[in-house]
Structure formats: structure tokens, C-alpha cells
Symmetry: C3
Subunit: 246 residues, 3 copies
Amino acid sequence: MKGVILSINPDAIIVDISHDIAPQDIQQGALILANSVNYFPRDAIHICVVDPGVGSSRRPIAVQAGETFFVGPDNGVLSWAMEAVQGSTRAVHLTNAHYFLPRVSNTFHGRDIFSPVAAHLSRGVPLDALGEEISDWIKLPAPQAQTRADDALVGQVIYIDKFGNLVLNLTEEQITSTNYIVEIAGRAIRGLARTFADRAEGELLACIGSSGHLDIAVRNGNAARELGVKVGEEVVVRKLGGWVVG
Amino acid sequence: MKGVILSINPDAIIVDISHDIAPQDIQQGALILANSVNYFPRDAIHICVVDPGVGSSRRPIAVQAGETFFVGPDNGVLSWAMEAVQGSTRAVHLTNAHYFLPRVSNTFHGRDIFSPVAAHLSRGVPLDALGEEISDWIKLPAPQAQTRADDALVGQVIYIDKFGNLVLNLTEEQITSTNYIVEIAGRAIRGLARTFADRAEGELLACIGSSGHLDIAVRNGNAARELGVKVGEEVVVRKLGGWVVG
Amino acid sequence: MKGVILSINPDAIIVDISHDIAPQDIQQGALILANSVNYFPRDAIHICVVDPGVGSSRRPIAVQAGETFFVGPDNGVLSWAMEAVQGSTRAVHLTNAHYFLPRVSNTFHGRDIFSPVAAHLSRGVPLDALGEEISDWIKLPAPQAQTRADDALVGQVIYIDKFGNLVLNLTEEQITSTNYIVEIAGRAIRGLARTFADRAEGELLACIGSSGHLDIAVRNGNAARELGVKVGEEVVVRKLGGWVVG
């Protein structure tokens, strides 16, 4: 992919965000991209290829959101990042093979379609030249935490990072005080830490992580391994002493 | 290695192709490089270090094939890529220590010889200045599929990618229709798929992969794990209803 | 982190040294950085984030050593590299939030403090502008090999690379001949090899590695796995026939 990009635009600056997305895990790719996009230059072009439907009828697309571009499969992997960027959104179905490699494989559109299209975008080719405008791109449903009858929030683990820290679908907007009990896998965590270092070595803790979500971690340890949990694990957050309006 | 290159040529553009070659697996390195080279700019300089003989009498070499350069050990790891590039080929044994780091370790020629040589090449130092021309560089034998008495093709798994997809030493030139039975590890796959998505979730399939080889995969799964196979596993391809001349 | 850097300095050249440091392993990070720094351009800016105390009272710092800059946590991870660079050393406690991201998380200072500070340094912001000068930065103790009563050297494994090679806290300055017996995990290695290829396939060997330390390896194998050892494992080096003054 990088060779293809540099063959078309030798001045392109290429940055890897992650090669550690689990195979076919569209939600994980979407989350990483959405969490990263606003830390990049506004006029960046993001290629994201988590693409279990490669070669099928799923559409290849390019998107402009504000000044930022995205190129990838129309399976929802781009959708959270598109929403995270400020500005209006336009998308095209990539149908103009003039901007693809001369020969397109059925199994590696990252190399044969997305990379050359992104490189041409970086050279100023307008979005409209790449294909026909569409408005029905796939939007990945956001894994929403639910409020239970007893007022507890019920969420899930949506990502586990390489340290074994658990990222939940509960954001700092929903977590308005530190006076909580967080329950996961039969364990209860009382109160929120400000950061890992607020707790003792090996202690299980909950805190607002760097992506603005509630995280569960073990100080200098691996929470996923210690709790034996995977993405999708349920988490219950109960407020002590009534809710505070944030 | 990157620090060495940038110390000599601050304008160098450095791209990683792979850091996931299995230790000492020359064939795997050769395959990845050969599959990648023609997607890079023609005037790229490729460093490839799979180097179990580092510090021994195996020669360090630099090669020009067409407009493309290669730098690495003379153990065959460069040879398939050299053949994949169009144009005539010249090679030199790297003997001119003027273009090495001042101090050369016995265990890391990637840093001490190959990187500085590649950086000097990128600044226009001619190939001839780097050492004496040779013509007896090592050519890695291509793992050829064989035709059996009963007309079946017998090949092997030559590479397993990070998704667990199996790449075979059978190319699309040898596979002239889709009417095959592919046998591996006691399983039989009837017919070739156009792409992964042509098959049901979890189904074992064979298709022409992105490198132009016949691949065996599990739709949204891991074929290597499911079949319990490694590189070298035998694969038999039997044509149904007689061979079609391609 | 790369997005933040390029947002501030689009001309920055970014190189990854390693993403394979074990979580919270400050010594490993310090060693990799110290071994790499002098292979990079003198005026490089190194960011190193092994940061178990992120968000606590541990200080974020920036350091100038000679012409080279370092940015990271004040937990010792930078200290060996600072000593490895020639020239005088100055350090500041990063207190000027003007050079941070507008919003600083408690768990990812790499993104929110170190990357923007490094990017501003690369644009010429002087060290003094970043905070107040300090002289009491944390110096990681060097894991020193000891000389025993019987004149043997007793060291430890301080790093295991991805090939399973063991790096010891014994340097080539301490190893003045090849006439040694190296003992580890109940095994004895007689003599030092010049390089891996001096030994037979699968043979356990000791040699001076590319970082100038004594290494233990298995020719085309994995010494850590074969010996079942980890970082910290004791190694005894006994000289045969008396010490030679180097």
C-alpha cells in the first residue's frame, strides 16, 4: 500500500495508526480511527481497511468530512470517525477505475483501490471525479450503554488495548462524579481513580481514559487477563448517593 | 537502521514492508519482497535482512535490477525480487568499507553495512564504487509445484499471512479454470471462489489471492489454525473434467 | 502521537524505534534508547514513553544532551541515553502548558504533553521556554556485573530480543579475551564465538553482540526459550588461565 501511494505521490507523508486491529473486527477499527482522527492534521486523508467483505458487492467509498478525507470499504468502519469530525459530509462510491491500479485483485482492495485513490486525492483530484455521490453509506450502530430500572448504567467492554486495559462504552459525559461502584466479572470497584498511579500496584481500578471513555485497568498489570474478560463483557455502574447533574 | 540512513541522507523516505518475517526464514522474506517490489516506485532501494549467516563468509551484496536497487545478504533472499523486476541485473560484493559504518559488528550488518550502503546509493554513489562486480549470487530455488502421473498438480504452502490464509506455490497461470478439487490436510475444497465473500461464514475456500497465487482461506476465520498446517504442507489440485488450456 | 506532531510541524520526520517494550519495563526502554541514540542524527529529538507513573507526581521532562533532545517522563527511562550522548546536559521540568495540547488526559502524556513539546522543539522553541531547569532528574541505576571472590564475573540478563537472544550487563570492555566459560541456567558455554555462524545449527553460544554487550544465543534458534530464562537471570563468566588486562 505504501509503495502504491509513493508511486503516485512521492511527496506523501504516510503514518501508520495501527496494524493491530483484530481480523474482521470492524467495530475495533472504527473506534481506533474515531479516537485518532481529531489528533491528526485537519486535511489528512485516512485509509482504513478492515474489510471482511472485500471483493463482494460491498462498495468502496471515499468521504469528505469537513476538510478531512476517508477512504475504505462501506461497511461502517469509517462512520464513527466521519461523525467525530466537524463539518459537512459528502461520500462517493468509488466507480472510476481510472484512479485504481490497472489490475484490481478480489482480495486486497487496500492496495489496488484505496491506496491509489487516497494518493490521487492527496494530489488534488476532486472527490467528484472518483465516482457517484451517495448518501446511504453504512453507519455502524454505536454500542450504547443502557440505564436500568434501578438507575444503574449497563455498558460493555468495547476495546482492549495492548496493556490489557478495558475501554467501555461509557463516556465522561455520562460519568458525572467519582462516587461509583463499577461491577465487572464478579468484581466491584469502588470509586473512580484520577489515573493509574492513584492506586496500589496490582489494584483493579476504573478511571476516565485517554479517549474520554470509562476504562478499567490494573495498576501496572493486565486487567483483561486478570478478569478473564473479552470485548462485549457487561459492566454495571451504580451511583452511590444519587446522581449528580454534571 | 533508520537512524543510520537518516544520518547519511536526511531526505531519505523510509518505508517498512514487514517486520514479521519468521526468524531465519529466507524463503518467506524472499516471497514478501518479490510480491511487493513492483508496487513500489521503480527507483526504490530495498534493504532486506533475513540473515542467519551474518558475520560468516556469506557476502554482503548490492544489486541493480532495471532502475531498482537491492541491498542485503547474498543468501538468496533478494533473488526472487531481482527476477520480478524488469531490466538487466548487475550485482556487486560489498567490499568498500568506506561506505560502511566505521565500526562493523559481527551480528548486525543491517545497521552497520546494508543501511549505510543503501543511504549512499540514495545519494547517488554508483554501484561500482561499492565493491567488485559478481555474477554468481545465490538464487533461491523456486518451490515448484509438480504435475503427477494422474495429471494432478502437487504444490505446497509457501507462506501463511497474519490472517491465517495459506499461499501456495501455484500461480494463476497454472490455474486455468475454476473447476478444481483442492485437497489439503484431509479436506477437499470443490471449485474456486472469486473472493472470500463468495463463501459462507467459516467455510473453507480456495481462490486466487492478491499475489497471484492460489490461496486457501476460511471466510472470516483462520485456515492455518483450522487445518493445523504449516509452511511446507502438501496440497493436491485435481482438475474436474479435463484440463482447459488457459 | 504522530498526528499531534505533524499537526504542529508538518515537516517533522518521524521514526519508530520500538513499540515492543514490555509494559512498564523502564529498564528495557532505557536500554533500547541508549543503544540506538548514537546511530541517529545528532540533532534528533527522542520521545520515549515507558510511563507507569503517568498522571502521578512524576515529572514530565525535556533534556538537551549535546545537540540531542529527549522528551519523556522523569523516571529514569531517558537517563542511560542521556549519558550515552557526548556533551553537556540540561533538563527542564515541563511546566509551560502553552506547549501541551489544550486538554491533557491523566493517562496518555505521550500524546498530550511529550509529542507536542517535541514538535515545538523541532520548530526551534528553546528548552528554557518549556519549563524550569532541574538538576535532580532520576538516574536509573546501571545493572552492574560484580566480580566474585574467585575472580568470576557475575552478571544478569538485561534484555531479550525478538529472536530470543539474551543481552547481558557485561560489555566488551569487561570481556578481554575469548577464553571464558559462561554459565547460565545449568549450562556451560566454553569460549566466545565471533558470531552466530561460527557455531553449528542449534548450538548454544556466547558472543559480543551488536550493542557491545556479551550476548547468549542459539544458532538459528531461541536461547530464551531453550534455556527457559527471563530478564534478571544470573550469568557467571569464569576466565580460563587468568585474566588478561584489556
